[in-house]
């Protein structure tokens, strides 16, 4: 007794495979026994991305079938075996290899074949089509012995083929019968822009050329002869003049066909024989053939549903498409040619940049009917949704295609889309389905794609899928988690406000009222920084000391071996010979390695904790202050020599830099702050690479903000021009305090500003125009920090209790025996692990003080 329905599928292309995938994934998969014939030697692969074969992808990369997928689901596959006949009376399929398989239901997914125009000589050696991996392999081989290649056909696939020939290093020509490229999808204006872009890439385009004959060439292998008498010699020809449905097997068993070929199907994808279905490019529905994968997939889903006994209908498909051809974005939506009655158009052409955009709207201007985008197709997703969902047009529809201002793209946004909106047309995934998957736990783009299959075929909807993901995540409340860490359910910014408003003075108090647990290395230093910015207490005060990173705790920078480096402040890099000598003397006396930093200071390395207070006693005596190189605080104000000495300088950059460094020294912030002042436009101080940069003009000072070097260098933005000094200082005061108030933990000014809604303009509004009315408040907060400044090192060495803490052991005056130096280029450096093994431990290291 046969309890299962035997379903035979002829063809294992993208659509045939989709049907298998859909059926085995259905709730009633057990009801079917699946057998499929595949004429090619490999399982279904991604023909949409076939051209990526030339970018290094191999057949395996393109495969759509995960290893073991068919056997796991009990699907029998006859690879390399073409089904050749159907006996409808006895319900038997016969294959080229002689297999006879009887069926209960049969699905034809035979696809299409490339149309080769009836041109004499089109069967010459070196003439190819562009359909299978084998075709591409043959083209690759031939190209190695060729110099020139011609693609006959300037449609979508023809241009793909042209790109392939170009990437194979051939002089590439495209010959098109119609007067423009991609005549089906885009209009004359778009075609012209596309042509000029493609020609700029070195591909020669010949339109309105009717090829009449291919014969032997005199210079090259072939000569193409055209109706107008012209000719073109080439080594290789690729035909890409459209597709024709593979209907021969249906024709032979008398299934009804379309007027121009193709197997006729009804809304359930059934052919004239109710037990036989046809899907994909071999099927013709309502006298239309659908040469895109999206409609093919829809047919596979409809057929699958119908086979399972569910109601489902194919009622036509949207043929909109977006691709990158030869690196040029091209998109066509709906009625691209404006054929609808009374349709009117908006057109935007940017010739210098090769951009063409057209909107086709209904006679009364209420609805969008179609669009053409060439050169830039970012609007595709938005426009497609408007067309598919019949959404009303905004008051100024032209805004949809006009260049977007930096303030943000116009458009309706994903929120305006109904749940039924189809987002991924290839895999027929709606917004509602995406949102459901997100709610069910697919909270990353990768998870969402694998869960719903959205954006896994052509990828055109990826930006929309991402937007929906972000919006839905935000709506669900687990958007971007802004909690500082597990101990505080607040962002740094929120904690800052709490500290200010509640006048909270210690970490313990804040944790008690607003946190949980005991804190950690994330929240402790962050809160310590907030407390310092608000109240400017001594960082080593009993209740703050344990919050500090080791650098702040020992007021020096820990190096890889556990020793520290010491950087005294040298404001603006100006230093007297006496102080220079003092630094040398201190370094020499304590056996330190010295190096000039990038910030115009002198760094002294190799200090053990117990040495730090002694070093600083000497430094303070010589008139130095802490340089705060260890803190998330103002580091330095770099300067060039300025008008005092320089022939080109227009202002005293050193004088201003010293004044500024003095003003903001010790200011603790979410991250380090760097500044610079240049004395003229030559910019020797590199002020535009700093959080705050000042450049002299002959009228005053230009202020730049939010630059930085490092991993991701960012050029600072010009913030205000020709300022007098008082205004300059006022803006910087406000800028810093606003940054300290609102930035995230370890967020430098550049990222802070870039993440700020409204960006630079908003920042200007707040700082310059005081739109929030907090200017005076910010200045007062800064004044409080400046007034309470004291040198941390001076305070520390004056307090014997604090000095006591600078020792390695609580119970011994011995030194850390693992700190071992060797000499190199006349100075010390840490010994490597290998060198340590050789060093005589008993002596306590090579360079240790007794």
């Amino acid at each position: 007794m046969q309890t299962r329905t035997r379903l035979v599928i002829i063809g294992n292309g993208m659509v045939g495979h989709k049907l298998v995938e859909t059926l085995v994934g259905s709730a009633v998969a057990q009801r079917f026994e699946l057998i499929t014939f595949c004429e090619e030697s490999r399982y279904a692969y991604d023909r949409v991305h076939l051209s990526e074969f030339f970018n290094g992808k191999n057949a395996q990369d393109l495969s759509l079938v995960a290893e073991g997928f068919y056997s796991r689901h009990g699907v029998t596959v006859h690879l390399n075996d073409k089904a050749v006949a159907i006996d409808r009376a006895n319900k038997i399929v016969t294959s080229a290899r002689g297999h006879e398989v009887d069926y209960d239901k049969l699905v034809l997914a035979t696809g299409s074949y490339p149309f080769v125009p009836p041109i004499a000589g089109s069967d010459r050696e070196g003439c190819f089509v562009y359909r299978t991996i084998e075709d591409l392999e043959a083209i690759t081989v031939k190209a190695q012995a060729s110099r020139i290649g011609v693609v006959v056909g300037g449609g979508l696939l023809g241009l793909e083929a042209a790109n392939a020939l170009k990437s194979l290093g051939l002089e590439t020509h495209v010959v098109e019968f119609a007067p423009r490229l991609m005549a089906v999808q885009i209009d004359a204006g778009g075609g012209a822009v596309l042509r000029s872009k493609i020609e700029a890439l070195g591909v020669r385009v010949h339109v309105a050329k009717n090829t009449t004959r291919i014969g032997a060439g005199s210079e090259r292998l072939h000569r193409l002869e055209f109706e107008d008498g012209a000719s073109l010699e080439t080594d290789l020809v690729v035909f890409s003049a459209g597709i024709r449905p593979r209907d021969e097997i249906a024709r032979a068993c008398d299934l009804a066909l379309g007027a121009r070929g193709g197997i006729s199907v009804n809304n359930h994808c059934q052919t004239s024989d109710a037990d036989i279905y046809a899907i994909g490019e071999c099927a013709v529905w309502n006298n239309q053939i659908f040469g895109l994968v999206g409609p093919g997939y829809q047919m596979a889903q409809v057929a699958s549903a119908h086979l399972c006994g569910d109601a489902a209908s194919f009622t036509g498909a949207d043929m909109s498409t977006k691709l990158k051809l030869l690196g040029v974005d091209v998109a066509s939506i709906g009625d691209a040619h404006g054929k609808s009655h009374g349709a009117r158009a908006y057109t935007f052409i940017d010739e210098p940049n090769g951009i063409y955009k057209k909107l086709v709207v209904s006679a009364e201007g209420q609805h969008l009917l179609g669009a053409v985008l060439v050169g830039e197709a970012e609007a595709y997703g938005n426009l497609l949704q408007i067309v598919l969902n019949g959404l009303g047009l905004p008051e100024h529809p032209e805004a949809l295609i006009l260049p977007v201002s930096p303030a943000g793209a116009p458009g309706l946004g994903v929120d305006a889309l109904p749940d039924v909106a189809q987002i991924c047309s290839c895999n027929n995934v709606s917004k509602g389905e995406l949102c459901a998957a997100i709610r069910a736990g697919a909270t990353s783009l990768g998870a969402l794609k694998s869960e719903t299959k959205a954006s896994t075929t052509c990828g055109g909807c990826a930006p929309l899928v991402t937007q929906i993901l972000n919006k839905e995540m935000a709506r669900l409340g687990f958007a971007v988690k802004k909690d500082l860490c597990e101990h505080f359910p607040h962002s740094r910014q929120e904690l800052y406000h709490i500290v200010r408003v509640e006048r909270c003075k210690t970490f313990e108090e804040l944790l008690d009222k607003h946190g949980r647990g005991r804190g950690c290395d994330i929240c402790k230093p962050a809160v310590a920084s907030i407390l310092a910015a608000c109240w400017n207490d001594y960082v080593l005060q009993k209740e703050h000391a344990g919050l500090q990173d080791t650098n702040d705790h020992y007021l020096a920078n820990m190096q890889k071996d556990g020793t520290y480096s010491v950087i005294p402040r040298v404001p603006a890099g100006e230093i007297t010979p006496e102080k220079l000598i003092a630094l040398g003397r201190v370094a020499k006396q304590h056996g330190l390695y010295t190096k000039i930093t990038g910030a115009q200071r002198i760094d002294m390395f190799g200090a053990r904790v117990d040495q730090l207070p002694h070093i600083w006693k000497d430094l303070v005596a010589a008139g130095f202050e802490s340089g705060h190189a260890y803190a998330k605080a103002l580091r330095t104000v770099k300067s060039c020599v300025g008008s005092t000495w320089c022939r080109y300088g227009v202002q005293d950059s050193v004088g201003l830099a010293i004044e500024i460094e003095d003003r903001y020294k010790g200011l603790r912030a979410p991250h380090k702050i760097k500044m610079a002042v240049s004395g003229c436009t030559r910019e020797c101080a590199e002020a535009q690479g700093k959080d705050v940069g000042v450049i002299a003009t002959d009228k005053g000072w230009n202020l730049y903000v939010c630059g930085n070097g490092g991993v991701k260098p960012r050029h600072a933005d010009l913030f205000a021009t020709d300022l007098d000094k008082a205004t300059l200082i006022q803006y910087i005061d406000r800028f810093f305090m606003f940054y300290i108030r609102t930035a995230g933990r370890l967020q430098r000014t550049a990222v802070w500003m870039e993440n700020m809604e409204g960006g630079l303009e908003y920042l200007k509004d707040v700082i310059i125009h005081d739109t929030l009315g907090i200017g005076a408040e910010l200045e007062a907060e800064m004044a409080a920090v400046i007034d309470t400044y004291e040198c941390e090192w001076k305070k520390t060495i004056e307090d014997p209790d604090k000095v006591k803490r600078f020792r390695h052991f609580v119970n011994s005056d011995k030194k850390d025996s693992n700190v071992i130096f060797v000499h190199e280029r006349g100075q010390i450096r840490p010994a490597t692990e290998a060198e340590k093994l050789l060093a005589p431990r008993a002596r306590g290291g090579l360079n240790q003080l007794p």
């Binding site: 101990h487 290395d521 609580v810």
Partner: protein, 125 residues
């Protein structure tokens, strides 16, 4: 489970000798101090009512004697110190590194007697 048996065996064969290292007042609450105990560097953390803990001072990842200079706190309820070098967390209870399975430091018994801090050293009987 040979490892487990071995640990038991060691407990039988050893007893704890207590070394007086410092006064409790020498330690800053919620911060570390380092004691030299029979040639070994031991990081001691005094966490007020949360107790007193001692682990190796040597950071096996950063390869330097620095753990007593890390910030202490808790991660998912486990008391930890964060290495000041590369910020990995080591459990104060077990010595296990939370980020790197194979990194582990010794833990030591610690007690307070009459305001003095004692570190337990296991010595063979």
């Amino acid at each position: 489970m040979r490892g487990a048996n071995l640990a038991v065996a060691i407990e039988f064969e050893e007893s704890t000798e207590w070394m007086d290292v410092c006064a409790l007042d020498d330690l800053v609450p919620w911060y570390g101090g380092c004691a030299l105990v029979q040639g070994r560097q031991v990081a001691i953390f005094y966490l007020n009512e949360d107790g007193l803990y001692a682990i190796d001072n040597y950071d096996p990842i950063g390869k330097a004697n620095v753990l007593h200079r890390g910030i202490v706190g808790d991660i998912n309820g486990e008391l930890v110190v964060a290495s000041p070098l590369y910020k990995q967390h080591f459990s104060l209870i077990t010595g296990q590194c939370l980020e790197k399975k194979e990194a582990h430091v010794e833990t030591y018994a610690v007690r307070v007697v009459a305001g003095r801090v004692h570190i337990g050293v296991r010595v063979p009987d």
